[in-house]
């Protein structure tokens, strides 16, 4: 959910762009982190842990903890908390270590 009214802040958002998550159509604002667009849409599980396959969400949101790794446009292990959203991005829930191509 987006914050609409705030006593201190005014949110300047980029234009609306479309992207996909595991093939499903999604929407977000250009330039915001992918994780923020996903969270707004209620998507909180970003990957599954390597050994026990436990769900993982973001933790630090500033690119320091690697809890939010996803596959973006074929690139694995992208920290989606700091990766700006672009039109047409193909985002996938990552399971395991990911494969470099």
């Amino acid at each position: 959910m987006r914050i609409v009214e705030h006593p201190i802040l005014k949110f300047e958002r980029g234009r609306k762009v479309a992207f996909t998550l595991d093939g499903k159509p999604m929407e977000g604002f250009e330039g915001e982190p992918i994780a923020s667009a996903l969270h707004d849409a209620g998507v909180t599980t970003l990957s599954y842990s390597i050994r026990h396959k436990r769900p993982r969400g973001f933790f630090c949101a500033i690119g320091h903890c690697s809890s939010c790794l996803m596959e973006v446009d074929g690139r694995p292990n992208v920290r989606v908390c700091t990766e700006p959203l672009r039109e047409g991005m193909v985002v996938k829930t990552q399971s395991g270590k990911g494969v470099l191509r």
Binding site: E5, P7, I8
Partner: protein
């Protein structure tokens, strides 16, 4: 351990200790500074147009207000980073009435004439209160004056945010 150190809720005695003399209270609005911990902070000193808050020898000093020169203008309310200053006016309204000015950084803001829910210093409901004045400041700390029963001047310290009153 209880009291402000563990719950954030100051005791009535602690609050009362910041009040001026009986005589001064009868003469018009006055500021109370509910700042009892030595922390490195001093914007209140410079904020007072009447220099009623004493210069600090050291930035960790507690603020000391001279109620004989403070006229309750309330400029300091929005300047205190800790939102710990209130202005009380016991001369407001009828005998058993008083007013208090409270910093209120929530949206939407109530309007003059609205009835709001006044909260005690522990967040419990105190009374319904009429909004007398709304002053928005450049630093985005609006100050709201509400009318309350005089017997609650040691207790009322907040206004329930409107967004929340709806949700609950």
């Amino acid at each position: 351990m209880s009291g402000i150190k563990s719950t954030g809720v100051p005791s009535r005695e602690l609050i009362e200790s910041t009040f001026p003399s009986e005589e001064r209270r009868k003469s018009g609005p006055f500021a109370v500074i509910e700042c009892w911990q030595e922390i490195p902070c001093d914007p209140c000193v410079a904020s007072c147009p009447f220099h009623s808050i004493a210069d600090m020898q050291n930035i960790n000093d507690l603020p000391v207000i001279d109620h004989s020169t403070c006229n309750g203008c309330g400029v300091c309310i929005a300047q205190c980073p800790g939102l710990a200053i209130f202005v009380i006016d016991e001369t407001f309204g009828a005998e058993d009435e008083a007013s208090i000015r409270i910093p209120h950084e929530f949206t939407p803001l109530p309007a003059v004439g609205d009835t709001v829910r006044a909260l005690n210093r522990d967040g419990s409901f105190a009374c319904e209160a009429k909004v007398i004045k709304v002053r928005n400041t450049k630093s985005k700390t609006p100050v709201i004056e509400i009318a309350i029963p005089a017997r609650l001047i040691l207790d009322v310290r907040a206004i329930e945010p409107l967004s929340r009153a709806k949700n609950i």
